[in-house]
């Protein structure tokens, strides 16, 4: 029983960290229909900003998070204007090519500017250490990520499903020309959504840095994980992504606990089974 509880706690914590990093990708892939393989690159840029602000300038964690989001979005604006705008609505493979290109460039530049070593983001006193749950301990910052994940999920769901902006965004993605003919300024809608997605990426990069440390190869190293999580959940669905993260987190954690040497097997077999059963993603059932 203890073991089960313990695994559940680990799974929840891991799943929420996955969620908070991948949710921005779910927005770009599902809502904007851009296969944004550079998502990790933006998360990484966020990490660098936070690390620079919090560690090198000693400004503290909160400022670091803020700097990450603002800084990354500012960097993303010209990238959106000159690169992404060219691939909205293009075939998937073209998007893959472009975003991989961007990822390569970001890696190269990060390597050049910051060197290949790991960068850490010092946690504030409050988030350091562990909390005793009675049957085991868990790191405080993981609890923090769980809370942040839930807040982000709620806010995002509201924005997309319950506001006029959300309706316009979904319309634009379905058929940009027609949306424009109804008076929707599609470019503005895209730019804003992209900024939101990138902001989320940066936030995820920072909050997840304890588990997935920031270094130049971050951008590629976790790309597959993000991609899998988002698609299993059903791209563009917030509840879907949440469920997928928790489910995959649970499978992964359980696999690692009971048979670590076959961890990969379990994980990917589970992915195959889930995708076969829910070809449109887990959220196919819920929407």
């Amino acid at each position: 029983m203890q073991t089960v509880l313990s695994i559940a706690v680990d799974a929840l914590a891991y799943g929420m960290v996955l969620f908070i990093i991948s949710i921005g990708l779910s927005v770009t892939m599902g809502l904007m229909r851009v296969i944004n393989l550079a998502h990790g690159a933006f998360a990484m840029i966020g990490g660098y900003f936070a690390s620079y602000a919090a560690r090198d300038l000693g400004l503290g964690y909160g400022v670091g998070v803020l700097a990450a989001i603002v800084g990354t979005v500012i960097i993303a604006i010209p990238v959106e204007r000159f690169l992404y705008r060219r691939i909205y609505g293009q075939p998937e493979l073209t998007q893959v090519l472009m975003t991989i290109g961007i990822t390569f460039c970001v890696i190269g530049i990060a390597n050049f500017a910051f060197g290949p070593t790991l960068k850490t983001i010092p946690l504030p006193q409050m988030l350091q250490g562990s909390v005793d749950l009675g049957f085991r301990t868990i790191a405080t910052h993981r609890l923090f990520s769980i809370v942040c994940g839930l807040v982000v999920a709620g806010a995002l769901w509201f924005l997309i499903e319950r506001t006029a902006f959300g309706t316009r965004l979904r319309a634009t993605v379905d058929n940009a020309a027609m949306a424009a003919s109804l008076g929707v300024r599609t470019q503005v809608v895209y730019a804003v959504s992209f900024a939101v997605a990138i902001g989320l990426a940066a936030l995820g990069g920072v909050l997840g840095a304890e588990l997935l440390p920031v270094e130049p190869y971050y951008a590629l190293r976790y790309m597959v994980t993000f991609l899998v999580v988002v698609s299993v959940g059903g791209a563009g669905s917030i509840p879907g992504a949440l469920i997928a993260c928790l489910l995959l987190g649970a499978i992964d954690t359980t696999g690692r606990y009971f048979a670590p040497e076959y961890g990969e097997f379990f994980f990917y077999l589970a992915v195959i089974v889930i995708v076969t059963l829910f070809p449109r993603g887990l959220a196919g059932r819920f929407r």
Binding site: R86, L93, L97, G101, G108, F112, S231, Y262, V271, V275
Partner: protein, 340 residues
């Protein structure tokens, strides 16, 4: 460079007889560039052979991605199966005759194609992409675990192919391997060229463009795709076998996500849905990578990234595809207003 000059002959609208000509020109180009490569880069034959084996994999991806519209990031599974098949045959069963090894590779590739086809075709779009990723990881994990057979992460070594026809040794200079590779490529190209123009090739394009319509014509979409996956597996397996024979080692990387992704990038770079695009993309990418990484091994990734971005911005259909479309448009603009 290389094959890209082929694009001048246009694309698409040409009447049937001209298409046959293009096939002949393509085959001739392979012979010409193959020979040229031999004499112009006599010291670089290992790289050229490496390019050819990769090219076979890229062609294989083109068959399912470019022609059938299946998005895949796991095609190296078929390549790796061919490589390990040929390698294990030589290292563990003493089958060292190169042609037989190649055949073993082709068969293993086809089987892997069948297996991954069955899995990957259970979904569409993004989900399909993810299935292909899962497949490649499972294949790699399996190869890692079966280290008694595959050498695990140390790689499978001890592959000593005999001389081709008992006469041409696989030596340090890689001449035999290169010529052997060019010959395989030529045969494959001709066969694939026939295949993609055949009624079956049309069915495949139909699958890509609208599977519902195809089913309403009475064709079984699944069976077309599975057959294509098997053929694709044979081609990829051939590439793998060539790689195993020429380098005499097989590593886990030949079954990796990285290789799958990189080759997909090469295909898109050249242009999907055309055999020339696949070949041009491979040659350009690998030459570029080789030159840039030799010139500056520390920062070549940035430059390759910039190349990819530039291609999307200025040649959105890929290098070959865009050139072909350009010439087609020019020839059509000459003819004036169409249709009505």
């Amino acid at each position: 460079m290389a094959l890209s000059t082929q694009s001048t002959t246009g694309h698409g609208q040409a009447a049937a007889p001209r298409r046959t000509d293009r096939g002949v020109i393509g085959a001739a180009a392979i012979v010409v560039f193959g020979t040229a490569g031999y004499f112009v880069f006599p010291d670089n034959l290992a790289l050229l052979t490496h390019i050819i084996s990769t090219m076979l994999l890229v062609l294989a991806i083109d068959l399912v991605t470019g022609y059938c519209g299946v998005a895949t990031l796991g095609h190296a599974a078929l390549f790796g199966a061919g490589a390990y098949g040929a390698g294990i045959a030589a290292a563990h069963f003493g089958i060292t005759e190169p042609l037989t090894m190649t055949l073993v590779g082709v068969i293993c590739g086809s089987i892997a194609g069948l297996i991954s086809g069955i899995v990957v075709l259970r979904a569409h779009g993004l989900a399909q992409l993810v299935l292909s990723i899962a497949v490649i990881h499972l294949f790699q994990e399996a190869a890692n675990k079966a280290s008694a057979w595959t050498g695990g992460s140390d790689g499978l070594s001890g592959i000593m192919p005999d001389a081709v026809f008992g006469r041409f040794e696989f030596d340090l200079f890689g001449q035999t391997a290169y010529v052997y590779g060019v010959a395989l490529l030529l045969v494959t190209f001709v066969l694939l060229r026939i295949l993609v123009r055949s009624p079956f090739g049309m069915l495949a394009r139909g699958v890509k463009e609208d599977p519902v319509r195809l089913a309403a014509m009475g064709a079984s979409v699944q069976s077309v795709m599975i057959r294509m996956y098997i053929i694709s597996g044979a081609v990829a397996g051939l590439g793998g076998a060539l790689s195993a024979i020429s380098t005499q080692v097989v590593g886990l990387d030949s079954l990796s996500f990285t290789l799958s992704a990189e080759t997909l990038v090469m295909l898109v770079l050249g242009g999907t849905g055309s055999l020339y695009g696949a070949m041009v993309g491979t040659v350009v990418f690998m030459f570029f990578e080789d030159t840039v990484s030799a010139a500056n091994p520390f920062h070549w990734l940035t430059i390759v990234g910039a190349l990819l971005i530039a291609v999307v911005l200025f040649a959105p259909k890929g290098l070959y595809g865009t050139a072909a479309a350009f010439f087609e448009r020019r020839s059509r603009a000459g003819k004036g207003r169409d249709g009505a």
